[in-house]
């Protein structure tokens, strides 16, 4: 089971714990953190841009700064790249330990072809949970339509995977001082269920990115542990789904 948090924001945090430390904590718990910075007019500011890059580095993920028109594409691509990257890292580590080679590229092309087949099979079939954490501070208001569209688009892509995949959505700041973020949608894999998410949000000025991140980590810990347990019992059922596996086994080089 791969777990990701995708943070969509437009600037620097200003309340509570450091988001960089929060992202590092998430990564330590096996959750990759990606960050999409959205700018439309003007710049994101040197501080904001540096923070975005650093959150992603601490969270083992990728960061991109884009306009709201590019957001759907970017979110989708980051998620996909992270899945591929996670598997690539795991496979390369195995290769190092078993064969003493650095990475896939050190093998001759025919061997490489075999390993890449396995990697792609995993990319398509491993289960994936992505929690989206959306900055809904006042300056984000004009961008929320684009954010909603990106969420729908990501859900659609994730839904097409063979492996079990789900998305949940949070926004921050929350309504009270003790709630740093609010859950807008629990785990779902149905794009049509992601309707108008942010209709009733009251925009506020604060940006408690760090505390909100940690709250989402808690949510993933609380909900995804159970999922991986049920998954273990279901493994044999997945194994009998021979059809989709058969397609890939046609690969011959």
């Amino acid at each position: 089971m791969m777990k990701q948090i995708l943070l969509i924001t437009d600037g620097g945090s200003n309340v509570g714990d450091s988001p960089v430390i929060a992202a590092a904590q998430a990564y330590a718990e096996g959750i990759t953190v990606n960050v999409a910075g959205v700018i439309d007019e003007g710049t994101i500011g040197e501080y904001g841009a540096a923070e975005i890059a650093e959150i992603a580095r601490a969270g083992g993920g990728i960061s991109r700064i884009v306009t709201s028109r590019q957001l759907s594409r970017t979110v989708q691509m980051m998620t996909r790249q992270t899945v591929a990257g996670t598997i690539r890292n795991a496979v390369n580590q195995e290769l190092r330990e078993l064969f003493g080679v650095n990475d896939v590229g050190a093998l001759p092309p025919p061997k490489r072809a075999e390993i890449v087949k396995v990697m792609e099979e995993m990319e398509e079939t491993m289960s994936l949970s992505v929690a989206l954490l959306i900055d809904a501070s006042a300056s984000m208001k004009p961008k929320l339509l684009a954010v909603e569209e990106a969420v729908r688009d990501l859900t659609l892509s994730i839904q097409a995977r063979t492996g079990r995949s789900q998305v949940s959505v949070f926004h921050f700041p929350g309504d009270t001082q003790h709630d740093y973020c609010v859950k807008d949608a629990g785990w779902t894999s149905d794009a049509s269920k992601i309707g108008s998410l942010f209709g009733r949000i009251r925009m506020k000025g604060t940006t408690p990115t760090g505390p909100a991140l940690l709250q989402v980590v808690d949510f993933i810990r609380a909900t995804c542990g159970k999922i991986s347990k049920t998954e273990l019992t279901e493994t044999p059922i997945q194994g009998t789904r021979g059809e989709s596996n058969g397609v890939r086994s046609d690969y011959v080089v």
Binding site: P109, A113, M119, E149, S244
Partner: protein, 310 residues
């Protein structure tokens, strides 16, 4: 994983590369395209560098190998044609290993440029060729996925070839690669699971983009995301003189109503045949001739009546 960007400067013309594993040599002649995960060059190989081929140099070994795997797999599932994949290897450039694979070079111009240059009267032939090619691909268990002008090359007399098979997906899997406005998910017209209908949708978008491009782009700018729907696209179809005759074909393609690609191509063919027939004037009897005949009959009937009554 790092936040490194994939931007790499293209290699200069005339650069010679030599495979680390297979030892084959290539000379890069011209940059053909910049992709998100690599650059494609027209190259020459063999004795005296006399045979042309296309070389894709990539940034990420496993991604590039994944594409080469698809080409190899297509070569083995579509026997009886010239293979796509010719070589897979690494070049050492500035002390770094750069993975690449070599494909058959396919000359031709992108379909939109072709139609602009040769006129939209080629649409019938070009479209039929494209659908026939897709029918073969679907038959072999693959969906092309990323159909767009740059990936559909037209050569002499409307001969169509697809390029960039690296984005192809096994039917039933998720679509590996797509372009937003050609994507049926973007238009709320279905999933991103690869199937023949996914390609039918993109083909319909290809015609819309080629013949009504300005208004299509305008539509994507102005339409709210939740209002994207095939019915908006059909409005453009109906208001365009070239596309209007294709209304029923477009309607089916945009709504995933074709049983299979053979049906889509048969129907395409019959639309163009019937429009060709309508234009032929000798198929209809001119009105004056019909009037003359009517008058002659009337005259003879009345003459007979007069004669009988006498």
């Amino acid at each position: 994983m790092t936040t490194s960007s994939n931007e790499q400067r293209p290699l200069p013309k005339g650069t010679e590369i030599r495979g680390r594993w297979n030892g084959k040599q290539y000379r890069l002649e011209r940059l053909l395209g910049l992709g998100s995960n690599g650059h494609v060059y027209l190259a020459s190989s063999g004795i005296g560098y006399r045979s042309a081929c296309a070389v894709k140099l990539g940034f990420e070994t496993s991604e590039l190998q994944g594409e080469a795997n698809i080409l190899a797999s297509l070569d083995s599932s579509e026997k009886g044609r010239v293979p796509f994949l010719l070589d897979v290897d690494d070049a050492v450039i500035d002390g770094k290993n750069i993975p690449y694979y070599v494909m058959r070079y396919i000359p031709g111009s992108p379909i939109q440029a072709y139609l602009r240059q040769h006129g939209p009267q080629w649409l019938g032939v070009v479209g039929f060729r494209l659908l026939e090619r897709l029918a073969q691909l679907h038959e072999a268990g693959w969906a092309f996925g990323d159909i767009k002008s740059d990936n559909v090359l037209v050569g002499e007399y409307g001969r169509v070839e697809l390029v960039d098979y690296g984005g192809a997906s096994a039917i039933g899997r998720s679509v590996r690669q797509f372009t937003e406005i050609y994507d049926r998910g973007y238009w709320f017209a279905g999933s991103r699971i690869a199937d023949p209908a996914y390609d039918h949708f993109s083909v319909a978008m290809l015609w819309l983009h080629a013949l009504e491009g300005k208004r299509l782009v305008q539509l994507t700018r102005t339409l709210l995301p939740q209002n994207r729907h095939p019915r908006e696209l059909m409005k453009l179809v109906r208001s365009n003189a070239r596309l209007a005759p294709l209304e029923s074909w477009m309607e089916k393609a945009l709504n995933g109503k074709f049983e299979n690609t053979k049906e889509a191509s048969e129907e395409w063919r019959s639309v163009f045949r019937s429009s060709q027939r309508l234009k032929a004037p000798e198929d209809r009897v001119p009105r004056w001739m019909a009037g003359l005949l009517g008058g002659a009959i009337l005259l003879s009937v009345s003459a007979t009546a007069v004669w009988l009554l006498q």
